[in-house]
Amino acid sequence: MKHLLGIEGMTRAEIERVLETSEAMLEISQREIKRVPTLRGRTVINVFLESSTRTRVSFEIAAKRLSADAINVTRAGSSLSKAETLADMARNLAAMSADVLVVRDSVAGVPHMLAERVSVPVVNAGDGCHEHPTQALLDAFTLRQSLGSLEGRVISIVGDISHSRVARSDIHCFTKLGAEVRVAGPPTMMPAGIEVLGVKPCFSLEQALAGADVIVMLRIQQERLDGALFPSVREYSRTFGLTQRTLALAKPEAIVLHPGPINRGVEIASDVADAEPSRILEQVTNGVAVRMAVLYLLTGGQT
């Protein structure tokens, strides 16, 4: 792996290598001294041009637990506000001997564009409505903790499938690992032709959840919705929100994921988010381990 730009371009073996490496990384975060010297003297620059708490902090912690230096760049206060192009900014960061660029942008394809223009490894930390590969990897890692393998498991992804980069990366990741993936949401949030990704579209929550092993609830992204894709938040919540009642449609031992930040009472009821089937906080813990694995593998210089 030279870059981590999306799950779509990864093989199953590459995905499994990241997941296996993450197992060892997870243990480091449980130690009293949560740091190993592996990336001593390396520099990881987090270029976050779209707001984020969880992912940015997660990458920063991951870099520091491997003893790398982590530098954060945000849009406000960067020279982008002086009309410098993104490519020039990235070249300048690379010229300061950065070893990895972690890039988040609200425009799809920005990490790919930068990867073609700089010589350092680029990690996509979320680009527009396209992909969020480390989220999918940490979701798969979390599922493997509970289920062992994803082979043959029924995983339902519910929410705004059209605008969700998490949905797209999850779909690629879960299908490559052998799961049966369903997607569900209001018709306005379901891309036409989604079947070509090897998933089954469902137009009701009941249909999506019946017999599911895993439910991935997506956040309703109010900041990404310019037009009204549904009449009201309340109506969305009534038809596609996960509650104790709708959770009961899935398998009794079904588990629930959510990429965060959660809108309590919108796509997920509080008593579900905080209940036993929820792995939401485990996802956050595992996110650090998975990102440590990604940084470790990408700084090797070759595959």
Partner: protein
Amino acid sequence: MSSPDPHAAKPDADGGGRVVLDASGIQRATTRIAHEILERNPGAEDMCLVAIVRGGQPVAELIAAQLAELAGRAVPLGALDITLYRDDVVARGVRPMPRPTRMPFSVEGKRVVLVDDVMFTGRTVRAAMDAVLDFGRPGAIQVAVLVDRGHRELPIKVDFVGKNIPTSRAERVVLRARPDGELEVAVV
């Protein structure tokens, strides 16, 4: 992707190379090491064994079984993966797969006996000492190995050794499982 793992005890159909320690030799060596460990650490009080994965694991298990018999008590056994501490990993190159470390006890104030299969340059033990120190401040660190093949590159000594085997630098010394499951050490 499939980088060679120097610590793997690989099954080897034909074997090949020169066997320098067979199963009974390994048994005798680990028994002697267990006696010597008890001499230095009477009653196995406040001590623990830490295997350097993966080659040290089977050796540490043999020593632990002997110690339990001789001292009449179980000695805590941990497993340390030192991949993330290796100095050759810090340099650019293919990334070896790190494996989970299991240290289900505190090393604070304890006598820690590091166990590996083969002692060579000393770099592995150097990395293992760094790793142990990240888990606390042991009272002492000692090193037990099944085979010492020489060629040290760091000022590191062995406390307990099963067998000294002169080798050339180009040779490889491996602890491996035969098809029938018995362990042996060979120079290849």
